[in-house]
């Protein structure tokens, strides 16, 4: 994670957004779009592209707001600090009543992804059970793939998540989980399978220093959500349209290519049923 760099990039793009031609009446208020470490948040180029695609498509200034944790972004979203945000399926379900879907990314043809359990390449572990008593890197306590999946797997094994690992840490970024395991800071890590696969293509030197032990079932891809009570607002509708039409514009296509995504589609909430099931297990254990 390189906050200084991405913050600078953000400032630059915000400045660029400010001089974009004005759109329809009242469009002077920028649309604020929240980002989390769910995807490759350290890639300034990806962020620039996304900003450009959204601003072009909507014809009004767009502000990209980055926060370190899902909790912060979710809180911003609920209190109106951002108009929409790309979050994880887990926080979306946690606030299912207040939030509504405005798009689910399609990766490799499906709006689904998996959680990976990774270790160092020379680690003999063959499953989660072998990693008991070791150190573990989670991404974020509100991340599905980076926390919920592994925690509920431990519960499903009949073990207690707080004592299963000798020590666990949060890195607040899927890429950071890969770094922690690659460097040997922790023995194992829970990581977004989509992020790991993309890293394998973009940074093979980093992802290559980890090995996937187990993959979870297919679960709903981290969605783009907004507050349910604001879904009818012009800005939100415009954003929704632009997200769905990304494959039809040059900048949109480049953005999707940079993200290794096919498109962003309208999907029913049932896509997240798998996560909901895990949440139920967690609640039952709690």
């Amino acid at each position: 994670m390189q906050p200084a760099l991405s913050r600078r990039a953000f400032t630059l793009t915000a400045a660029a957004a400010a001089i974009l031609p004005a759109g329809p009446a009242g469009a002077e208020t920028p649309i604020r779009f929240g980002l989390t470490p769910v995807f490759l948040d350290n890639d300034a180029e990806v962020i620039d592209l996304m900003h450009a695609a959204l601003a072009e498509g909507m014809g009004r200034p767009v502000e990209l707001v980055q926060r370190r944790t899902y909790e912060e972004v979710t809180a911003l979203l609920l209190e109106g600090g951002v108009d929409a945000a790309w979050v994880c399926g887990y926080p979306y379900l946690q606030h299912r009543k207040a939030l509504t879907l405005i798009g689910v990314p399609v990766w490799q043809g499906k709006p689904l992804y998996r959680s990976y359990l990774i270790v160092a390449p020379d680690d003999p572990a063959r499953g989660l059970a072998d990693l008991a008593g070791g150190t573990h890197a989670f991404s974020d306590p509100n991340s599905n793939s980076g926390w919920l999946v592994t925690t509920t797997d431990i519960i499903r094994m009949g073990r207690r998540p707080e004592t299963f690992f000798a020590r666990s840490i949060f890195t607040y970024g899927h890429r950071n989980v890969v770094r922690a395991v690659a460097a040997g800071l922790t023995r194992s890590g829970s990581v977004d399978g989509y992020v790991w696969e993309v890293l394998k293509l973009e940074e093979p030197g980093l992802a290559g220093r980890t090995r996937v032990v187990t993959r979870s079932e297919w679960l709903g891809f981290p969605p783009i959500v907004c507050r349910a009570d604001r879904a009818g607002e012009e800005g939100i509708r415009s954003l929704h349209r632009v997200l769905l039409e990304l494959p039809q514009t040059e900048t949109g296509r480049r953005t999707l290519a940079a993200l290794h995504l096919d498109a962003i589609a309208d999907e029913p909430p049932s896509v997240f049923d798998g996560i909901a099931a895990r949440m139920a297990d967690l609640e039952a254990a709690g």
Partner: protein, 476 residues
């Protein structure tokens, strides 16, 4: 050993070598000083670098360590180790207040939760950090402070091999530079000293040149201007000239003395020639008058022959005395007969008694040159005759004494005055005055390697001269 060897070298070389040596010494001391201060500045630079590094990490890590945020600590270390100055960081481990490792740049060697003490064993604290120039790695243990309290500890190993290499390089170049400049200075010192001392070498060369005494230094070899060396050489030249003049004067004096001794004999020799002339003229008259009386003529002719023979002997002896000087004739018994003949008239004039005793054979005399021995004997005899006064006694004996020829001249005069004695026995200058003949005797005896003894016994002055007889041919 070296000193003795140095002592044998010429002064110019010695002083030049000394100058070069001093330059080398100066160079070594200067190099040493520069190296010492260079090392000191590098050590303080290194210490400052370590301090800045640790302070920087401390500031960056403080909050994360307080929260025991393992990832933040690791991420900070990881990014620090990738940044420019961080390349220096070989390893850094951070522990919480319990001393258990939170994170390290190399987590495999410093695992999460293991004690820091294993890594801290060889590390020094910042306070007693001893940085040695040439150290390749430095291990430091420092407290991590945040909000005024110690929240953890940090051990960091820094790679300072580049600084060590730089120092070695600097030292090498410095040393090479100093050696080069020192050698250059030494050479310059050597050459300058050689140049400055060249007149001294010239002086020494001229002073010891040849056997004919001091040699003048040509004007072109004397440095111009009023330098000490120039004055020295000019003074030497004037001294050499004075010595030359003195030697010349002495030679002229000896020459004159020879004539003086002959001169002193001249009037008695004239008498010696004049006295028989009356008798000879009478004989001629008798022959003329009694030409018809053969027995008278024969008797007169005999008388004439003897008289003229005596005259011939006397003049030959006088001529010989004058001529021998230039020839290299060996001494013969006849020379003493000549002397007796030359002295005879003077002795008679003074009505003195001359005791004459020559016992040395030709084998003994042969090794000595005639002229100086004759001059020695004649001067001593004239001196004795003058001292003995009218009616006195003069003695002369020549005999062999071991490997030497001994001439003993005695008289019953009042004895030699101190000044005359000094002239005879010592080489000290005595100033003008009578008795210069005795100084000639001393110089001649010295030249022949002989010695002079003077004694006074029973109111008789005895002067004995012993002349060693060199390389006797009959003994070979």
């Amino acid at each position: 050993m070296i000193l003795r060897w140095l002592g044998r070298l010429p002064l110019a070389v010695r002083v030049s070598v000394l100058a070069a040596g001093l330059m080398v010494g100066l160079g070594i001391i200067a190099s040493q000083q520069v190296l010492v201060s260079l090392t000191r500045s590098q050590e303080s630079r290194l210490r400052e670098l370590v301090r800045l590094h640790v302070d920087g990490l401390s500031i960056a890590l403080g909050p994360a360590v307080l929260r025991e945020d393992v990832w933040e600590v690791f991420d900070t270390l990881d990014r620090a180790s990738r940044a420019g100055e961080g390349r220096r960081m070989v390893m850094t481990a951070v522990a919480d207040s319990e001393g258990l490792i939170l994170a390290a740049t190399d987590p495999r060697n410093a695992p999460l939760g293991s004690p820091l003490s294993a890594l801290a064993a060889s590390a020094r604290t910042l306070e007693d950090l001893e940085v040695h120039a040439g150290d390749e790695r430095i291990s430091v243990l420092a407290p991590l402070s945040y909000q005024g309290r110690e929240v953890g500890k940090i051990v960091t190993v820094l790679d300072v091999s580049d600084l060590a290499a730089e120092q070695r390089r600097t030292q090498l170049w410095l040393l090479l530079g100093n050696v080069a400049s020192t050698l250059l200075l030494a050479l310059a010192g050597y050459v300058a000293m050689r140049r400055m001392l060249r007149p001294i070498s010239t002086l020494a060369g001229h002073m010891s040149a040849g056997t004919g005494g001091l040699e003048l230094i040509p004007e072109r070899e004397i440095p111009r201007g009023d330098s000490e060396v120039g004055r020295l050489l000019r003074t030497y030249n004037s001294m050499a000239r004075a010595v030359h003049e003195q030697a010349e004067a002495k030679r002229r004096l000896a020459e004159r003395e020879r004539f003086v001794s002959l001169g002193r004999l001249a009037s008695s020799l004239a008498h010696e020639i004049n006295n028989p002339l009356g008798g000879l003229l009478n004989a001629v008259d008798t022959i003329a008058r009694f030409a018809d009386r053969p027995e008278v003529v024969r008797k007169s002719a005999d008388l004439l022959q003897r008289g003229l023979g005596h005259l011939r002997d006397v003049s030959r002896a006088a001529l010989e005395q004058n001529r021998l000087d230039t020839s290299d004739m060996p001494l013969r018994a006849e020379d003493f007969e000549d002397l007796q003949l030359l002295m005879g008239p003077e002795i008679q004039r003074q009505q003195q008694e001359l005791a004459w005793e020559v016992e040395a054979g030709p084998a003994c005399l042969d090794g000595l040159p005639a002229a100086p021995v004759r001059q020695i004997a004649l001067n001593l005899l004239l001196n004795a005759s003058a001292a003995a006064a009218r009616g006195g006694h003069v003695g002369m004996s020549v005999r062999r004494a071991g490997d030497a020829l001994e001439l003993v001249v005695e008289d019953d005069g009042p004895g030699l005055p101190p000044k005359a004695l000094a002239r005879l026995l010592s080489p000290e200058p005595t100033g003008p005055g009578p008795g210069m003949g005795l100084r000639v005797v001393r110089d001649l005896v010295a030249a022949l390697g002989g010695r002079i003894e003077h004694r006074r016994e029973n109111a008789v002055t005895v002067i004995a001269v012993r002349l060693p007889v060199p390389g006797r041919r009959d003994a070979a």
